[in-house]
């Protein structure tokens, strides 16, 4: 204590377990402890929610106070001396856990949360004592339908009220409440309300036990069997950071990953369900005129069609970029079209806007994850959309079209005209939309199967990691484009998506401004060993 840190009106300095820490004024003790690497156990405290201090699990000793204080509620003060590992506060944790477990059912084998359950974890870390109870447990309803996505098991609930606060504070709708008293207290929907807000599954994430379960995930897969890979939600332009939980080449759920600048701890329900698209109507083999073909045949055919069209009139050849694909895919396509083929008729596809889904929380009207990235990569902020493409098609200005992505909102008439073009090459992961009408359809890997980057609405370049291999013969789109270039005599020379990224960072103005780095490849980690949840 020889050196007293500079006192400042904005910060306070306190001592936690003998270690000094300086934090901004108003910081809670639990957060200050985290800064020096001390994790205080807690159920009801969540860094993204208000503090209620109902679970009493985070009690710590603060010198000068007559009783143990909840560290989530205690605000740091100058000169405060906190003990988290003394006998008194260490003794309080097993006592609180014993109370919590009095009426907890022996449900672990049938509980969806088992393996990522905070209660399991805290009991194992702090208590580990045998039960002393010899009276029957209080019975409560086991299957309560709270809303379209959520089911409640009231027996498992430990009444931390995190879910109530998520509805109130994140979604801004009061839909959950407590009812009854004492050991009959339980969670219920507010009178006349249903748990149906757009962020309702966040209640499942924050639930420290298996009381709230998602209908989409429950009883499908044990949590500890899952592998986790970090990625970005492709549901809209917000680009929420997520973890893909997958096993056996299949995604089982998406959960939010903390990012202070984008989504904090949350994501919307709609975004969580985007993974279903990964298994519906996927294109698994290249096709020429609807018939399956080998890759070299399909690529060769596509290259010949495009070359013939370019030779006839370069101005009549259009290229459609995809805001559903990564920056790398689009960049490779820009290079192929502009530099190798000399084509400049560019459009951007993607899904049309859905204004009614926009809110001020996370959801954006633009349900394409990478529109801003496409504009930056193409270098044209006013790039024409599907509307203009439809007009051009109707006026017969276009003779050939290379389309990235199957989402292209064309009217029926332009769509028919597109189908009649002499060259319509589509690189897409699904056989829907324009992909069904392609002369040559090339199957690409979808977002969970590729490594790459996407730019969200704020201009943040975020990284997608590959969770598993693409189905069938599908390849990443940048690789298809590279092969297409090779077949038409224009070597792009990419061997790895990282090369695309590095070249792109050097050339695209908007990207070089940020400290955009590729980072190391990550390996999927088994969830039970990742320590990230529960």
């Amino acid at each position: 204590m020889s050196e007293q840190p500079q006192a400042s009106p904005q910060t306070v300095t306190l001592t936690i377990d003998g270690r000094q820490v300086t934090v901004p004024k108003g910081t809670s003790v639990i957060e200050a402890a985290k800064q020096v690497g001390i994790e205080v156990s807690a159920f009801c405290y969540h860094p993204g929610l208000t503090v209620v201090a109902v679970c009493r699990q985070c009690l710590v000793k603060i010198d000068g106070q007559p009783k143990l204080q909840p560290s989530c509620q205690a605000v740091c003060a100058d000169g405060m001396v906190v003990h988290t590992a003394d006998d008194w506060s260490r003794g309080a944790r097993p006592q609180m856990l014993e109370f919590t477990l009095v009426n907890h059912p022996i449900d672990c084998p049938i509980c969806d949360k088992a393996g990522e359950c905070t209660l399991q974890q805290l009991y194992f870390e702090h208590d580990n004592a045998a039960s002393r109870m010899d009276v029957p447990k209080v019975r409560k309803p086991k299957v309560v339908d709270l809303g379209p996505h959520i089911v409640l098991d009231a027996e498992r609930c430990i009444l931390c009220t995190r879910c109530i606060r998520v509805c109130d504070e994140v979604a801004g709708q009061h839909q959950l409440e407590m009812k009854n008293r004492g050991d009959h207290e339980e969670i219920a929907t507010a009178p006349g309300a249903e748990l149906d807000n757009a962020y309702s599954i966040n209640t499942v994430d924050v639930c420290p036990v298996g009381a709230l379960t998602s209908k989409d995930f429950r009883f499908t897969m044990r949590a500890w069997e899952l592998m986790t890979t970090p990625s970005i939600c492709t549901g809209c332009a917000t680009g929420c950071n997520i973890e893909i939980h997958h096993k056996n080449e299949r995604v089982w759920r998406l959960v939010p990953r903390f990012n202070a600048e984008v989504n904090r701890h949350w994501m919307c329900d709609e975004g969580r369900f985007t993974y279903h698209k990964l298994r519906t109507r996927r294109m698994v083999a290249p096709a020429i005129d609807g018939l399956p073909a080998r890759w070299d045949e399909a690529i060769g055919h596509a290259a010949r069609l495009m070359a013939a069209a370019i030779q006839k009139s370069p101005a009549g050849v259009g290229v459609v970029f995809s805001p559903q694909h990564t920056n790398e895919d689009n960049y490779a396509l820009v290079r192929l079209a502009r530099e190798m083929w000399g084509v400049t008729r560019f459009y951007v596809g993607g899904k049309g806007p859905v204004p009614e889904r926009a809110d001020k929380i996370l959801r954006d009207a633009d349900i394409n994850p990478n529109r801003r990235g496409v504009k930056a990569v193409v270098g044209d902020a006013t790039i024409a959309g599907a509307q203009v493409l439809g007009e051009d098609l109707s006026q017969g200005e276009i003779s050939a079209l290379l389309v990235l992505g199957h989402d292209l909102e064309l009217g029926p008439e332009p769509m028919e005209r597109a189908a009649m073009l002499e060259a319509l090459v589509v690189i897409a992961d699904s056989e829907e939309g324009i992909a069904a009408r392609a002369r040559v359809a090339l199957p690409s890997a979808a977002w969970a199967e590729v490594a790459g980057t996407m730019t969200n609405r704020q201009g943040l370049v975020q990284r997608l990691h590959q969770a598993f291999a693409p189905p069938g013969q599908a390849l990443p789109a940048w690789e298809i484009i590279t092969r297409l270039g090779q077949a038409s005599g224009a070597a792009l020379g990419y061997g790895h998506v990282r090369q695309v990224f590095e070249e792109m960072v050097g050339k695209v103005g908007e990207l070089s401004g940020q400290a955009a780095r590729w980072g190391r490849e990550t390996r999927p980690i088994q969830l039970r060993f990742a320590n990230s949840r529960g």
Partner: protein, 185 residues
């Protein structure tokens, strides 16, 4: 006794010894790749060291290990996986364990290796025991041992592609040599 070997190594090789630790009673010296052979020869031949007994050698692949060094009590939804990690950090480390039967002391030598430059000088000229062990390490991790007399696969077959103990080799990716044809039964 425990630190004496490390002390002697530090005194003699100075900068070539990047780090020394003694945890769980195991003395560990992290040695620069260039000095490995020299350090090993010294340990074998110096009468005060007399580490004539080669215990084992292997390699550790640290790919992704830094991701997991988060406290187990981290609450929900804190980033488990940072999106970017240092790329230049050494991914592999060779591990050699030597022992002196005479003096009853031992040492573990670790040599960090980066992904792009995965080679190290062989020690099989000092101890013939390392011949097969280095072949095993080559087979499993793809570490190239310069000067090894017979560097080829030892457990896997020659047709096998890749190095299976690397962390990015999937556990169940088989490369069959032969399969039965069911049509003729």
């Amino acid at each position: 006794m425990a630190g004496a070997v490390l002390e002697a190594l530090r005194a003699r090789f100075g900068g070539a010894i990047l780090e020394t630790t003694s945890a769980y009673g195991d003395d560990v010296a992290v040695v620069k790749r260039e000095s490995l052979h020299e350090v090993a020869a010294f340990l074998r031949d110096d009468p005060a060291m007399a580490m004539s007994y080669p215990c084992y050698c292997t390699c550790v692949d640290y790919l992704g290990m830094e991701l997991l060094t988060i406290s187990p009590t981290t609450p929900l939804a804190v980033p488990a996986i940072p999106s970017s990690l240092p790329e230049e950090a050494p991914r592999y480390a060779m591990v050699y364990e030597l022992r002196s039967i005479k003096h009853r002391h031992r040492i573990r030598i670790k040599v960090p290796l980066t992904e792009g430059d995965l080679k190290v000088q062989t020690l099989s000229d000092l101890w013939p025991a390392f011949n097969w062990l280095e072949r095993e390490t080559f087979d499993m991790y793809g570490v190239a041992f310069e000067g090894h007399p017979d560097l080829r696969r030892i457990f896997m077959y020659d047709e096998f592609i890749g190095h299976p103990l690397r962390k990015d080799y999937p556990k169940e990716r088989r490369q069959p040599l032969v399969r039965r044809e069911f049509s003729d039964e």
